[in-house]
């Protein structure tokens, strides 16, 4: 690998950069500092875990990165887009094209079949019907749910629903996968199954993954890097020494 200047190499591969990121809101008389001056960089292709207890602000950071929320101050730049400066319309496009999201509660639309749920982002992207069907079938095959594509979410187990949600998150081929407690509603076996898939996307498709979790064990098992938050502040940011991945990323600058 050629030895390029560290700065330029780093900037080329930075996927997410936040600077003094703040998200404050008022609840009655009290000002809540959900995110309070977080500066962090995530390189492209990294698998990062955001850790912290509930109320630590980890989900708020994720929402800011996802473009679902806007910072009160500071900036968050994703793939060279300063999210604070995007219009609502542009932010929607950003969520559509750049980000794939999975949630603790799966968030599939109950009235739609799996196939329809998975192809929903393509409707917003105005993709033709036939192409939409091909892509959604492909995505469901990738998560092993092709046999269930015409079932509704309520007819499926939690693991299957989360796999469908993963398929939906992938359908637009985003560079970024954001997961908010993806295994929170699953038993450990199913959780492992889901996390293996997420890791596969990270490695096989080169997606940058940011996962919010409060389970340290899960983070240690899958993430290359762990960022700890408490009271909206970043308190620790360190590579995951316990995985081979962490070591590799640490040494090799993938």
């Amino acid at each position: 690998m050629p030895t390029a200047p560290a700065v330029s190499a780093a900037s080329r591969t930075v996927a997410i950069r936040s600077e003094n990121l703040c998200r404050h809101y008022r609840m009655g008389e009290t000002l809540i500092r959900a995110v309070d001056g977080v500066s962090v960089e995530v390189r492209a292709g990294e698998f990062v875990a955001l850790l912290g207890s509930s109320g630590s602000g980890k989900s708020s950071v994720l929402n800011l990165i996802a473009g679902l929320d806007r910072p009160t101050s500071g900036s968050v730049v994703v793939q060279d887009r300063d999210l604070a400066k995007l219009s609502r319309e542009e932010l929607a496009k950003y969520r559509l094209r750049v980000v794939g999201m999975v949630f603790q509660s799966f968030n599939l639309i109950a009235s739609m079949t799996l196939a329809e749920n998975v192809e929903l982002p393509l409707r917003f992207a105005e993709v033709d019907r036939s192409q939409r069907q091909n892509l959604s079938r492909e995505a469901l095959e990738r998560v092993g749910l092709q046999a269930r594509m015409n079932h509704r979410p309520s007819e499926l187990s939690g693991g299957e629903q989360q796999r469908a949600a993963l398929a939906r998150a992938l359908i637009n081929r985003p560079q970024l996968l954001l997961a908010d407690e993806p295994t929170g509603n699953l038993d450990s076996h199913t959780g492992t199954e889901i996390m293996d898939m997420v890791r596969e996307f990270n490695r096989g498709l080169g997606m940058t993954v940011v996962m919010v979790t409060h389970e340290r064990a899960l983070a240690e098992r899958y993430a290359q890097r762990m960022i700890f938050l408490a009271d909206g502040k970043l308190i620790d940011d360190r590579p995951n020494a316990s995985t081979a991945d962490g070591a590799r990323v640490q040494g090799g600058q993938s």
Binding site: N63, A66, L68, D69, R88, E89, A92, K93, R95, L96, R97, M101, F103, N107, L108, I109, S111, M112, L120, P121, R123, F124, A125, E126, R129, R168, A169, N172
Partner: protein, 470 residues
């Protein structure tokens, strides 16, 4: 999102809360139905009235009189407003008639000859109004159902009687409240019989002094100043037809009950009420008319022809004027019906707002999900719009069907009532295609307007909050 996708998702969402959305849609359809029912009643009544007017056969006729006739009737002001016209107070004579006849869109212009005179039948005198008909009157709808036939020629010594005069001649009157007398029964004893008409003849050539002997023998009066005399004459006429309807019903109080062929009537030189004034102004021995009927090719051109004749310096009258007030009445009626019909639709539109606001609350999470996976504000807005619009179209279609059915039932019920009261049932109900299109379009529009607020509210929903909401 593309429109087919929007429609598909909207219909799917409507199916999800089927009961509530059905009820809302039924609300719209009731609103549309009341609108359709009200308007079709108004239109139906209007068509009924027009139908009756057209049947009278003179919808395409303009009556021309000399402007002079109106002097002293308080119309000078109007004349002034029209402005000085060439040939002001022109004489309505033969050259004028020919000029009018050559105007564009004019089929024919014939003099109105009408006079009150005495007809003797069975040696009994009957005083009545007589009017002359041109050969073209044969196609007049009023002669539908006439007994006998039209004049054999334009100069034949023949008459056609109006039904009421036939009753008079036979000394029959319809029993009160009972059925009218049958035309065929009235005609049977009269057809082919002769009448004797006694009339006052104007001596043909006022410029030449009458032979003293004739004047002495026949003239009832010899008007000083006016250079003509009036001679009493008799003429036998054969009854060839009895008409059921009145071919001149537009003329109101001056309507005639007996009709003569036009050329015959002209050749008789009957003294007419307006003669005196006109004759004194006549430049030559040309025929002068008190009024001329102008038949226009198409009822829509009546106004144009009227304007052209007015410009020539004459006064005109047409059914268009008469139906103007009628039309104003119907316009006001339609407006009232529209307002009352729209009230129900307005109530229904509140139902749409309510339903959609409820849907937002219920589907908050769904909206949050859609936004999280990339739906723009516009997509969410359009989706709610599509739902409102779909309810509007469905409600509109159902409403038109319902309104049509209600109309049918009302019409049927009214006709049953009319028949019981021994009145003729009629169709006073009309749902023209444009009303169908208008009702559905209007319902769609009202629904979209109702969807404005809910759609904007849904679009503005904060996805973070919406996703937190369980």
């Amino acid at each position: 999102m593309k429109i087919p996708d929007l429609a598909e998702l909207a219909l799917r969402n409507l199916r999800e809360s089927l009961l509530r959305n059905s009820l809302t849609t039924i609300g719209i359809s009731v609103g549309v139905a009341s609108l359709v029912a009200m308007l079709s009643l108004g239109i139906g009544l209007q068509q009924l009235a027009s139908r009756r007017l057209v049947k009278s056969g003179l919808f395409d006729t303009v009556v021309v009189t000399s402007r002079r006739d109106l002097r002293g009737m308080g119309r000078e002001r109007e004349e002034q407003r029209i402005g000085p016209t060439p040939g002001e107070s022109r004489i309505l004579d033969e050259p004028a008639r020919q000029e009018i006849e050559h105007l564009p869109n004019v089929l024919e212009a014939y003099p109105d000859i009408r006079f009150i005179t005495e007809l003797r039948y069975d040696d009994k005198p009957h005083l009545t109004m007589i009017s002359a008909l041109p050969p073209s009157a044969k196609s007049n709808d009023a002669f539908e159902g006439m007994q006998g036939g039209f004049f054999s020629s334009d100069t034949a010594l023949e008459v056609i009687l109006q039904k009421t005069f036939a009753e008079e001649l036979l000394g029959r009157t319809p029993p009160r409240g009972g059925d009218e007398l049958n035309v065929a029964d009235l005609a049977k004893p009269l057809l082919g019989k002769e009448l004797t008409m006694r009339y006052a003849q104007r001596a043909p050539s006022p410029a030449q002094p009458l032979p003293p002997s004739a004047a002495a023998a026949n003239s009832d009066s010899n008007l000083a100043g006016a250079a003509y005399s009036v001679v009493s004459r008799e003429q036998k006429l054969k009854i060839v037809g009895v008409a059921d309807l009145d071919p001149e019903s537009m003329r109101g109080p001056t309507r005639a009950k007996v009709f003569l062929p036009l050329k015959l009537a002209e050749s008789l030189h009957v003294m007419q009420p307006t003669d005196l004034r006109e004759i004194s102004r006549a430049a030559s021995d040309q025929a002068v008319y008190s009024s001329i009927s102008v038949r226009v090719k198409n009822p829509t051109q009546v106004q144009v022809v009227e304007d052209a004749i007015k410009k020539m310096g004459f006064t005109t009258f047409s059914l268009l004027d008469a139906s103007q007030s009628l039309r104003t009445f119907f316009r006001v009626l339609d407006l009232f019906l529209l307002i009352f019909g729209s009230l129900a639709l307005a109530v229904a539109s509140i139902g749409i707002v309510n339903t959609l606001v409820m849907a937002i609350l219920e589907r908050r999470r769904e909206i949050g999900i859609m936004k999280a996976i990339g739906a723009s504000d516009g997509d969410v807005k359009k989706l709610f719009f599509a739902e409102a619009g779909a309810m509007g179209i469905l409600g509109g279609i159902a409403g038109v069907a319902l309104g049509w059915a209600i109309g049918r039932i009302i019409n049927l019920a009214t006709n049953v009532y009319l028949r019981r009261e021994s009145l003729t049932p009629d169709n006073f109900w009309a749902v023209p295609w444009w009303l169908v299109a208008l009702a559905i379009g209007f319902s769609f529009l009202v629904s979209l307007v109702s969807g404005l607020y809910p759609a904007a509210r849904a679009a503005k929903l904060d996805p973070v909050q919406a996703l937190r909401y369980e």
